[in-house]
């Protein structure tokens, strides 16, 4: 009996902490995608709390009412087969809950997989985020600059991250802007994010990738478009160009501090060809340079081009 109360107390403490005064990272969204996800999580916590409370209530009632010590010595419990009405309720209510959550889940899937709400009309800022053991390289093709282990982004603008990896599978995650997505060596994945307000956020690789995984993190700074433009201008004036040699040196396993370059590695070290889930106009832009495996990539394209 004590356990039940203890569990109940702990559970409510958790819920209180989760929604409490000092929000946890995931409950402190700074962009529309993260907000949608936080809302989904809170919604499901709410509904699931009701389920848990119902189960706990029935259990406690049963344990108090029907314990052997409360019953007469010669009490013979009745033989009970299933009752269709009771079973219908036990199936029906969970079905309704699951159906509702499925509806929300499907809706959210399409929301987080497309341009962030309120930013649909904009031309997104495209950033290639690629990982190597155990660093992140951020290439800004339009601005023609590249950074290592830090990311500057403008607020109030759609961001389209093109993710891939120079090694093990990694996962690009900036929890306050939105959930993560894998970066893999043989394809590009796309993550749509946006920041509503300026600030500094934690970003990291969330998928285990070997010895240096724990430190495979980066800083994200969101600033106004004007500050961002100023920063780009400054980088172009002060940073060194990224040469192929320098880039290959950066790829070597290990940890690096934050670095800034002009030019991107995309010209001499192009990303994988297979583009996974990008908006349609761009996937045709990704060229097939006549490699022997282009047939395979084309097949995959048609597989996925319908979403």
């Amino acid at each position: 009996m004590k356990l039940k109360w203890a569990v109940l107390a702990v559970f409510f403490t958790i819920v209180t902490v989760l929604t409490g005064c000092e929000p946890l990272t995931v409950f402190d969204p700074k962009g529309p995608q993260a907000e949608r996800q936080a809302n989904d999580i809170l919604l499901s916590i709410g509904i699931m709390s009701v389920v848990v409370i119902v189960v706990f209530a029935i259990l406690i009632y049963v344990l108090v009412k029907f314990r052997a010590s409360k019953q007469s010595e010669d009490y013979e419990p009745p033989h009970m087969e299933g009752n269709p009405w009771v079973e219908a309720i036990c199936v029906g209510i969970p079905v309704i809950i699951v159906a509702y959550l499925s509806f929300v889940s499907v809706q959210s899937n399409y929301i987080v997989e497309s341009a962030p709400k309120g930013y649909e009309e904009q031309e997104p800022l495209v950033v290639y985020a690629s990982s190597s053991n155990w660093k992140w390289h951020f290439s800004y093709p339009e601005e023609n600059i590249e950074t290592v282990n830090y990311l500057y982004i403008p607020t109030d603008r759609a961001l389209e991250f093109k993710l891939y990896s120079n090694g093990p599978i990694t996962s690009f995650w900036v929890p306050q802007l939105g959930g993560q997505k894998y970066a893999m060596a043989d394809m590009i994945t796309t993550l749509h994010l946006a920041a509503d307000e300026p600030g500094e956020f934690m970003g990291r690789n969330a998928n285990f990738s070997g010895k240096g995984f724990a430190e495979n993190a980066f800083n994200v700074t969101a600033m106004s478009q004007k500050d961002f433009d100023d920063w780009v201008k400054e980088v172009k004036e002060t940073a060194d160009p990224l040469s192929e040699e320098k880039y290959n040196e950066l790829l070597k396993p290990g940890h690096l501090g934050q670095m800034t370059f002009t030019g991107t590695h995309l010209e001499f070290a192009p990303p994988p060809e297979h583009d996974h889930g990008s908006s349609d106009s761009e996937s045709t832009e990704e060229t097939h340079e006549g490699h022997s495996d282009s047939h395979e990539s084309e097949e995959n394209h048609s597989d996925h081009s319908n979403h």
């Binding site: 009970m80 299933g82 043989d186 395979e296």
Partner: protein
């Protein structure tokens, strides 16, 4: 020189050298002990060559308990490392090896043999059979598992443990990023024991389909037998996928194929898909028999029949089908797009419905019952609320868009421990306490058992509930350390304390066994719990032939009916009993498999070829062997029945 270098530990530490010494001393002590007490013959005749399902069950049980402690030590080391920020207790490499082996050991070498222990020991008794359908195959299954487990466990003293996570995702697990032989061990040790699991699957299905006592129709089978049947159907469905995936992974590592590489047409996510096509049903292979055990226990200690038998069976079948349709929820974040995620999101949530039905049926079984708070019942009662929390967090994780935030975090770690520990581990401990008197003829101490339960439950809540919070706060899983600025420190310290309390609880189990061996009364009869199903209708200790006379079954609970309604369980006349002979072949065959596996890990090809020949030689010899079993005479049966607590004729 290069050849021998591969046998060295790539990242040695004093702890590993210490364990080498301990392992060496233990082996010497065992050999010396066996020689001193002249037990070699006993060991060979009674255990190594046995084909008796009960003895094989016990060997599974002992192995599972040993592995529980091995995996538990890994867990404690992990929690100790994470207890404080920037801890220097373990380095990254060591931590990576530990969480990898923790996962593999707990799932494949602890939980699997634990459920096999109960399947082997209980199912033939529950259906009134003399043994499983293929007793010798059963022995091979066990020894394959055992050799696989041993091969996996020597990795940390010879050549280095695997370090790519228990999921062993490529390309991280490929040669380029995992240079040591660790992942070879992973591929081959799991392969060998996986073959054993597959054979058990075939064996158990055949046993349940063909060897039930007269009168026991499918819908009169006890719930644990039903759960075993469904779990083994899943085994034969999905273990071949694992076999193929491991073979492909082995070839990538040893023969330079490109199945899972990220270049030359390889596909790294293919491994993830194949792994989880096996891996997700695998958790239902573990949880369904656990549900079966809970069903038996809750019914027994409520002194009431199981509520909603038909819907219990139906929900297990539905779960088994759905379990094969949800694998992609392990990587919603792979970028397969909204449509595909939506499908797997819905199928995953759908599993909550049949699972919910089971929870409610257990609650209604207790309704109007006469609930006795014994230790097995305490575990079953603790299971319901804790597992419900684990289940609802599973529904939360199934919301794929939200999963982008949970994935790879401690929230996920909290969730699956929240299902596996109250679900599977509690069930195994409940089953252990419940069936202990059947297996050994005395009870485990009730007081120590209750202490264990409370410590384990409290320890569990403290260890895992904080992870839900740190996960939502951004703590990724598998990080060997974190900085103080993250603020994860306090909650991780609570986790460590919880893990410590759980460790005390597990130590208490050992003490309980010791205490009960010394002090528990022995004259407890064959039905100490006032149970309802056939396994309690035989004598204790169970004679090797189980039932002197094959029982006649009239309902789901024939033994209960024989006690209360005057149902005649044993209407037939005593006759001589046909039993299989012991054989040394399974042990020898599987020992050769061990050599084969070891030489494969280190690519010692001459030895691989030799042992392959040895394996096939064993198979050929078996084909030409004439072994028609033996008969136990009526006199012998009568004598045994008298000796084991009165004839049940």
């Amino acid at each position: 020189m290069e050849f021998f270098e591969r046998f060295a530990i790539p990242h040695p530490s004093p702890a590993i050298y210490a364990s080498m010494v301990v392992i060496g001393l233990t082996v010497i002590a065992i050999i010396a002990g066996l020689t001193y007490f002249k037990k070699w013959g006993y060991l060979w005749r009674e255990w190594l060559t046995t084909v008796d399902h009960k003895r094989i069950g016990l060997m599974y049980l002992i192995s599972a308990l040993l592995m529980l402690f091995r995996g538990g030590v890994d867990a404690i080391m992990m929690r100790a490392q994470l207890a404080t920020p920037d801890s220097k207790l373990l380095d990254a490499q060591h931590y990576n090896e530990i969480f990898t082996t923790h996962g593999v050991v707990m799932i494949i070498f602890m939980a699997m043999p634990f459920i096999f222990a109960f399947m082997n020991y209980i199912v033939p008794l529950q259906i009134g059979a003399r043994d499983v359908a293929f007793p010798r195959l059963n022995a091979i299954s066990f020894w394959l598992f055992f050799m696989g487990a041993m091969l996996f466990n020597i990795s940390f003293v010879i050549g280095g443990s695997p370090d790519a996570g228990w999921t062993s995702y490529f390309p991280l697990a490929g040669n380029e990023f995992s240079e040591s032989v660790g992942t070879n061990y992973y591929m081959i040790a799991i392969q060998i024991s996986g073959l054993g699991s597959l054979m058990t699957g075939i064996n158990m299905i055949t046993t349940i389909m063909k060897m039930r006592a007269p009168g026991m129709t499918m819908m009169k089978m006890p719930m644990f037998t039903w759960s075993t049947l469904v779990a083994n159907l899943i085994i034969v469905t999905v273990f071949p996928v694992l076999t193929v995936a491991l073979a492909m992974g082995t070839m990538d590592r040893l023969f330079a194929t490109n199945f899972f590489t990220s270049s030359n047409g390889g596909m790294d996510m293919l491994w993830a898909n194949l792994f989880w096509v096996w891996g997700h049903p695998e958790v239902y292979i573990l949880i369904l028999p656990a549900f079966g055990i809970y069903s038996e226990i809750i019914s027994t200690f409520s002194s009431k029949n199981l509520y909603g038998y038909k819907s219990m069976v139906a929900s297990m079948v539905i779960i088994s089908v759905l379990s094969c349709l949800v694998w992609a929820h392990h990587f919603f974040t792979m970028g397969q797009g909204a449509a595909s995620n939506s499908f797997f999101s819905i199928t995953t949530m759908a599993i909550a419905v049949p699972t919910g039905v089971k929870i409610f049926n257990w609650l209604f079984t207790m309704w109007k019952g006469k609930i006795r708070f014994t230790v097995p019942m305490l575990y079953s009662i603790g299971f319901i609320p804790l597992f419900t929390i684990g289940g609802v967090t599973g529904v939360m994780l199934a919301m794929s868009a939200a999963d982008y935030q949970y994935h790879n975090t401690m929230f996920l770690v909290a969730h699956f421990h929240n299902t596996i520990i109250p679900g599977v581990v509690f069930a195994m401990l409940a089953g252990l306490t419940y069936y202990w008197p059947k297996m050994f003829g005395f009870m485990l101490n009730e007081r120590i058992g209750k202490w264990t339960f409370w410590l384990l439950s409290i320890g569990f809540v403290l260890a895992f509930f904080p992870m839900y919070i740190t996960g939502l706060d951004g703590q990724a899983r598998r990080m060997y350390t974190y900085s103080e600025a993250t603020g994860f420190g306090a909650l991780n310290m609570i986790s460590f304390v919880g893990a410590g309390i759980m460790a005390i609880a597990f130590a208490l189990i050992v003490y309980n066994v010791y205490y009960s061996i010394r002090y528990s009364p022995r004259n407890i009869g064959s039905d100490p719990w006032d149970a309802r199903t056939l396994e309690w209708a035989t004598n204790t200790p169970v004679p090797e032939y189980n039932f002197a006379i094959t029982p006649q079954v009239n309902s789901i609970q024939p033994f209960w009916d024989s006690k209360k309604k005057g149902h005649v369980l044993f209407p037939a006349k005593l006759d001589k009993i046909h039993m299989p002979n012991n054989s040394g072949m399974p042990f020898i065959l599987c020992s050769i498999f061990f050599v084969w596996g070891f030489s494969f890990v280190f690519a010692i090809w001459p030895l691989v070829i030799l042992s392959t020949i040895g394996i096939f030689a064993c198979l050929v010899l078996r084909s030409f062997e004439k072994d028609h079993g033996r008969y136990i005479s009526i006199e012998e049966i009568k004598e045994t029945e008298e000796k084991t607590g009165g004839a049940k004729l």
